[in-house]
Amino acid sequence: MSPAEDVSPTPTAAPARHAPARLDVVGLEVQRGDRRLFTGLDFSIESGELLHVRGPNGSGKTTLLRALCGLLLPQAGEIRWNGEAIRRLGEEFTRNVIYLGHLNGIKHELTGLENLRVAATLDGDRVEDAALWQALARIGLAGFEDLPTLVLSQGQKKRVALARLMLTSARLWILDEPFVALDTRAVALLETLLVDHVARGGLLIMTTHQEVALTSGTTRTLDLGSTA
């Protein structure tokens, strides 16, 4: 008796507009191994904007994204959230960020539902079960909610991870190749999610090798120098 039936086509995540915010990157330099991936990188992005980080394989997209959400300490330069260095903000900053990388960040022993619940709780988001069921149903996992995610396929696992996007109230979304392994229906759904987020005044930074055309908000692109 899952509430999965009564799925409303409208987005279920809190439709409230986000408070304005901005992320500034000044003179960023990141080195991996002994290769300087980029130096003196400057850009900024604010509410309602999508930053599409492009570049060939190995140009440093993932590295940049990890630096932006503070997982990776840059060699030089600073990343500022509303003018404050994220290093100093600490949890104050991470509260506003959701990052989905090459790894799905779900536990295979837990069901999709449990995974979502734990993640949301730790993020400090709303977690009525109804909302969880609904999110999973919308992402196309109705019927798979309480299977251990181990038995899900590549793309299904990815979907479980993406479901968080419908619950989070984070303003800054950082997504590394979110479309990988998704079938066409899932891709379409994800696109509407992203559009909606930006429309609500969120910030979105993502990489993808597919072409993205989000119909709302301003789309900036950042091209990282080729290496290969």
Partner: protein, 226 residues
């Protein structure tokens, strides 16, 4: 504050659920302990006085190894599937999350050892009070092992051969616990009154470990995940 306790409980519950999905994990640690303890008589022969003398040492070394091996799994899977980096990005203080994980881990691996130890003691012909002293010493000592071990686990995260690498970092740190833990048992075979200071020392170790280990572990995690 309440938020912290909440987070702590969420993590503990999560990890306990995970373990319950795989009850074996708990049992394996337990049986590893039992098997290792049972190997020695096969190696050194089964002479009574000899075994009684060996008992405390063997039990403690086995406990050391068991809890150390179990540690390897403390963060490994969270790291591999990316849940760990997600934890770093939650608005919760990392050291609390760590404490939660260590606590759950001890409940699953340390506590059972304490429970079974007296039986092992019987195999080594230890009697009466000695058995209880051993259980008590383990009860105070094993959490210290988990807390210290967590640091090692965090440092060796994602390195191939982590398991055995941990033991390198951690076993030396375990030595004080080993010395006073087995000391307590040995002392009890002579005079129960002598036991108290040993236990007190172990208690002191526990308090210190509780205070500092989680912080060190958290720091180690941030380094390893980068």
């Amino acid at each position: 504050m309440n938020g912290m306790v909440g987070t702590f409980l969420v993590i503990v519950r999560r990890d306990l659920t995970l373990a319950m999905r795989r009850r074996t994990d708990v049992l394996t640690t337990l049986f590893f302990f039992v098997i290792v303890a049972s190997l020695f008589p096969l190696g050194v022969g089964s002479e009574k006085t000899m075994l009684r003398f060996l008992g405390p040492g063997v039990v403690w070394v086995a406990a050391l190894l068991a809890s150390m091996l179990a540690l390897e799994r403390l963060f490994a899977s969270d790291f591999a599937d990316g849940t760990l980096e997600q934890m770093l990005l939650t608005p919760q203080p990392l050291s609390v999350l760590v404490l939660g994980k260590v606590c759950a881990h001890w409940l699953l691996t340390g506590l059972p050892l304490v429970a079974i130890a007296p039986l092992i003691g019987l195999q080594y012909h230890l009697q009466g009070a000695t058995l209880w002293v051993m259980a008590l010493a383990l009860l105070v000592g094993t959490p210290v092992l988990s807390l210290i071990g967590a640091i090692g686990a965090a440092l060796t995260l994602g390195l191939r051969g982590g398991g055995i690498l941990i033991s390198l970092l951690v076993l030396p740190l375990y030595i004080p616990v080993l010395v006073y833990g087995s000391g307590a048992v040995a002392a009890s075979t002579i005079d129960l009154a002598d036991v108290q200071p040993f236990i007190a020392l172990l208690g002191a170790f526990l308090v210190l470990a509780l205070a500092f280990a989680p912080l060190a572990t958290a720091a180690a995690l941030r380094i390893s995940v980068e």
